[in-house]
Symmetry: C2
Subunit: 329 residues, 2 copies
Amino acid sequence: MNIREIAKMAGVSPAAVSRYLNNGYISREKSDAIKKVIDETGYMPSHQAQTLRTGKTKLIGVIIPRINSDSISSVVAGVSEVLTAEGYQLILANTDNDADKEIDYLETFKQTNVDGIIHLGTIKSAKHKKAFKAVTTPLVVLGQESESASCIFHDDYGASFSLTDYVLSKNHKHIAYIGVTEKDIAVGYMRKQGFLDAMEKAGLHVPKNMLYQGNFRMDNGYSNAEKILKDHPDVDAIICATDTIALGAIKYLNEHHISIPDQVGVAGFGDSKTSSVLSPSLTTVHFYYKECGIEGAKLLLERIQNENSSARPSQAIKLDYRIIENQSI
Amino acid sequence: MNIREIAKMAGVSPAAVSRYLNNGYISREKSDAIKKVIDETGYMPSHQAQTLRTGKTKLIGVIIPRINSDSISSVVAGVSEVLTAEGYQLILANTDNDADKEIDYLETFKQTNVDGIIHLGTIKSAKHKKAFKAVTTPLVVLGQESESASCIFHDDYGASFSLTDYVLSKNHKHIAYIGVTEKDIAVGYMRKQGFLDAMEKAGLHVPKNMLYQGNFRMDNGYSNAEKILKDHPDVDAIICATDTIALGAIKYLNEHHISIPDQVGVAGFGDSKTSSVLSPSLTTVHFYYKECGIEGAKLLLERIQNENSSARPSQAIKLDYRIIENQSI
DNA sequence: TTGTATGCGTTATCAG
DNA sequence: CTGATAACGCATACAA
């Protein structure tokens, strides 16, 4: 069933049908005839042919480091909400934390000719910067500051600084930190730096051996909590770069009957669903993940629509945060 | 940069380049010349034109009720793993638990001409059955038994029966149940029925007012736990249709200093990441979500490749489960 | 307002 | 093995 058959059935030209479907530059009479035929046949124009002709795919590529994460799925939910309402479809590219795959997907998207790309940023290597700079498709980076593209990110540094301040105010002084690779600027570097600077400001020196590091999973928190308690029996709080890591630390503490927060306090980042369920509930930081997705999608739409405008100053938007004062500190 | 330019530069015909890219039915000499030009120019054939010509989009539509869920994202991770390895891309369609949107997306996918559809099933209305029966695209249903399509699902009934048996064996006798709508056959009906039958077998009658119901979120568990304790002060265990619901119940119990499992035991389904972190850890059921995604994707691939074979007996595969005996019971 | 004709970039057919 | 050519289904410039 194609546009020509419809045209024949309605007694008009294919161009008329096309116009009916698009601009609507057509007389009432023919319009009615076409409508009737389309209703009867259930005809739908071939997306593929439209795409070849117009160069627009109505497809948006979304690159994410993993799918199974509270924060990431919230961002994607926000993105999805805005873009599907505008008739776009999302192609999900899951890199499984393999940074090289990001570049592969970028290539794939170039070929698929997506109309825009949303990139949930993680690490930034030189290779990445180069690859992303070479992209001509409208691109918005989420969760990381980027100088080469429009981006929306969280105030990771400020959040970490405030959270540390809060922990200190609750009379924890020997604080260990479990982070992730600093190649992840937002989660790895900024959160660690906020912690260090807040400690510094309080006149507390943090020795290097109070800083631990690992992956994004629970076992990072679990195994490093074990190390921390072995290395530093006097530790009275652990700040973890994510709630998931904090969950691992809590698991270790629970299993070894170390009471939270009396013996050791724990704090995380992300305000995951779970944090409020735990007993004691987890002190954490709320970031506006869904809003990040929503705003990112709007920004992308704007860039797609003004693609012709040669002047394209990329925007950078920093989102706020909120400390969730629960019982684990 | 298109195939004709490449052909001209390599001194061959467009057809030769096309063959080079596909069957490779070409002489060594020309092949080398073409390879050289392609390497130099970085030419990539237009996916859109290929798609128009061949009718294959290399796109798979994935319909899910929500993205922000442990179990669903695990299934999608499995699907993604298999299909991206085969050069397919996933279009994610998030219905936000709006069953009508499933039908809309089905329509959209028809238009986008996806090569296959994965449907994480939820409820089955007559309208749904009709819509899904009318689909000619290869389709695999995951998480629900389906008579009209190939499907992979979990043994929800058996799991619930076993779990209830286990709870009973731990000397809980006054057990309340918090479920979800029975329109969701797998999670709503089967799990409830397994519970009821196991109770029956133990000679315990379950009065209707021990059966509660709500949505898929934590607040269902929270508010119904409250009701349960008001209505039935003698209750000594609550079985919840999902871990998320169980988390809500636990939250209520913790907040009201009702000890788990001494006063009230709690059990869930899904073996979510969180379940092992809680203290006491949550007794639950492990389902093979990722495996479900992997097997589902393989099944879909098979159906896509044998699309011509007129005989297409749809398969139904029931997956196993495993009771996770933790401390909350 | 309408219809004709052309081309988007590729692949399949068919004759060499 | 190779190349010319005709589709795939649509949207648009242009002529009417």
